[in-house]
Amino acid sequence: MDANIAATRSSSISLVDAERSITFGAGVLLLVVGASRRSAAGTWLAASSTPLIYRGLTGHWPKIFNGHADRDGTKSALAGPRGIHVQESIRLEVPIAEAYQFWRRLDRLPQVMTHLQRVTETGNGTSHWVAKAPGGMVVEWDAEIINEIENKLLAWRSLPAADVVTAGSVTFASVRGGRSTQVSVHLQYAPPAGKAGALVAQLFGDEPSQTIREDLRHFKQLLEAGEIPRATAHT
């Protein structure tokens, strides 16, 4: 897989102060938790905090997320060539609480995320994720919610010792004078080397941003239209 894939559609929106603090807090948390793990995974997790902290401080995602990747910046942000960032957003005509509740119930995510087989909530904000990989293989990891503000933000990260180091956040905003809701996902993942890494890489395909965009589209279709459109029994 190509080194630094950075995808975004609308990343230059300034955050309000509260959200900025939250992003900053989430970044610091990632940094602390990551640094306290004396493992490769911990290092990556710590490194993955950089964009969150940057955004928390400046109100903007680092330039590398705007598709103008600069190698030095990418390296310092991801501490390695395989870290992948995806940022996508979608707008839908449902109340913000409805959109938030869908995401908060993690076990419903496989309905819209094609690569997920199941997500099981395991208590205390932790969850077990099983993703489908090509060839009938599965990739599993445990994650925990690290930040949660009703109708505003959800953030999670994988627990130590997981095959996949991943962190992500989804933010909810009221737009068009309160008539529409905008949902923005920021996902980071850093697959390990070796066979597991190859499987993880295949999970999201050659274009991770396209994969996430399709997942978000399914989310919108399910909430707005009540179903995900299908042309034939095979699609």
Binding site: R91, L92, E93, S180, Q210, R213, E214, R217, K220, Q221, E224, A225, G226, E227, I228, P229, R230, A231, T232, A233, T235
Partner: protein
């Protein structure tokens, strides 16, 4: 069931395909009683539209009887007689709520394909390539209708199939083309192309208060039909259209111009990610003749309304003329859902009988030959209606 399937360029076959099934909660299955070949089906027949696959069921103008409904479809019942809009729309997204039904956000499962080409995807369409969703069409014995709780229009029993079938596409398409002209009393409207959409645009312009309609074509039977509707006619093989329009309007030009011809006559086609489309584009770049002419002919501050289908990038598009004259350009797939109820009322009031465009009535089995007849405008063919249950010509000859 039997269905008209695309098998390649200029190759249409009637084949056995699996019966459609309910796939989603808001679906319905319709037993097709009447279906038509649309001029835009000829773009598929001629291979101009990319992402068609062998075996795709054609057809987007159809009506019939509801035989099955999905569990969340509370509006339709088995036995309802309905006309189905050719655009598929969810009824709940931003665009549907704005009455921009053909721009529905949620009905194209292959939206990503259209996004690569256009930036954003419009609605899914029946039987009109995988880029528009890959939905099987209605030139078949049965059709699955998604979002059937907002699309299909129930029609009263006292109206015949032929009176209401064209609510599925060409009547609303011609009507929206005329409405887009924002006709004021006294206006003169010029219509290029006197095929079925052109005919409905002519009738609609007059219904909406145009003082004069000038119809442009080269086929005498089509010009005759336009003339019967009340239009003045121009045969572009016999006169210089620009000169004639200028003369007829005292040197001012028509207040609005309707291009009811579209991509094939003009040759603007789709881009390169499909190789054949690219080839077609190069073959066709020199033909956006009608749209250029409509822009040249239109009076200052007028409107050019484009119901004809365009797909890609136009060569030598005279934007300078449009800008210099302050023209308004209106276009797009028809928001069929918006127009169906009000046009049904006009039919019920007897203001129009849409069956006037029909020249050919055939069995589904006779579709392959009729695609060619329609494309070549042989036998004075203007509009073809097919009856899935009817006996085919071949069977009739054999006395089956």
């Amino acid at each position: 069931m039997r269905a008209v399937c695309w098998a390649g360029k200029e190759n249409v076959r009637v084949e056995d395909v699996p019966d459609p099934k309910i796939l989603n909660p808001r679906d319905a299955i319709v037993k097709v009683t009447s279906t038509a070949i649309c001029g835009s089906d000829l773009h598929l027949y001629d291979g101009y539209i990319p992402t068609m696959e062998k075996g795709d069921v054609l057809g987007h103008e159809f009506m019939g009887e509801v035989v099955e409904v999905g569990k969340d479809n509370t509006r339709l019942r088995v036995g309802d007689r309905v006309v189905v809009p050719f655009t598929i729309a969810c009824g709940r997204c931003y665009f549907c709520r704005q009455q921009l039904w053909s721009l529905c956000d949620n009905s194209n499962p292959n939206a990503w394909m259209a996004e690569k080409l256009y930036g954003y995807s419009a609605s899914g369409l029946f039987g009109y390539s995988h880029m528009y969703g890959g939905y099987p069409g209605g030139q078949a014995e049965y059709a699955r209708v998604p979002f059937a709780d907002v699309g299909p229009l129930k029609v009263p029993d006292h109206l015949t199939d032929e009176q209401v079938l064209f609510l599925s596409d060409i009547f609303p398409t011609g009507y929206m083309a005329a409405e887009n002209c924002q006709i004021a009393p006294g206006d003169t409207i010029a219509v290029w192309g006197c095929g079925p959409v052109g005919q409905f645009a002519i009738k609609s312009a007059l219904l909406l208060g145009a003082e004069r309609v000038i119809a442009i074509d080269r086929f005498s039977e089509r010009l005759r039909l336009a003339s019967q509707a009340g239009a003045e006619t121009l045969n572009y093989e016999e006169v210089d259209v620009l000169d004639a329009l200028r003369d007829m309007t005292g040197g001012q030009g028509p207040d609005a111009c309707i291009d009811a011809v579209g991509l094939e006559a003009h040759g603007a086609t789709l881009d390169a990610w499909y190789d054949r489309a690219k080839t077609s584009m190069f073959l066709a770049t020199d033909r956006p003749h009608v749209l250029r002419q409509a822009i040249s002919a239109c009076r200052k501050g007028g409107t050019v309304s484009i119901p004809g289908v365009y797909g890609g990038w136009l060569d030598k598009f005279p934007l300078g003329a449009a800008f210099a004259k302050g023209l308004t350009l209106k276009m797009g797939q028809t928001h069929v859902h918006k127009y169906m109820p009000l046009l049904l009322e006009r039919i019920e009031r007897g203001e129009i009988d849409p069956a006037f465009v029909i020249t050919h009535r055939i069995a589904l089995e006779d579709a392959p030959g009729m695609y060619r007849t329609f494309r070549d405008k042989d036998d004075s063919c203007i509009k073809v209606v097919m009856k899935p249950g009817a006996v085919s010509q071949a069977d009739r000859r054999e006395g089956v």
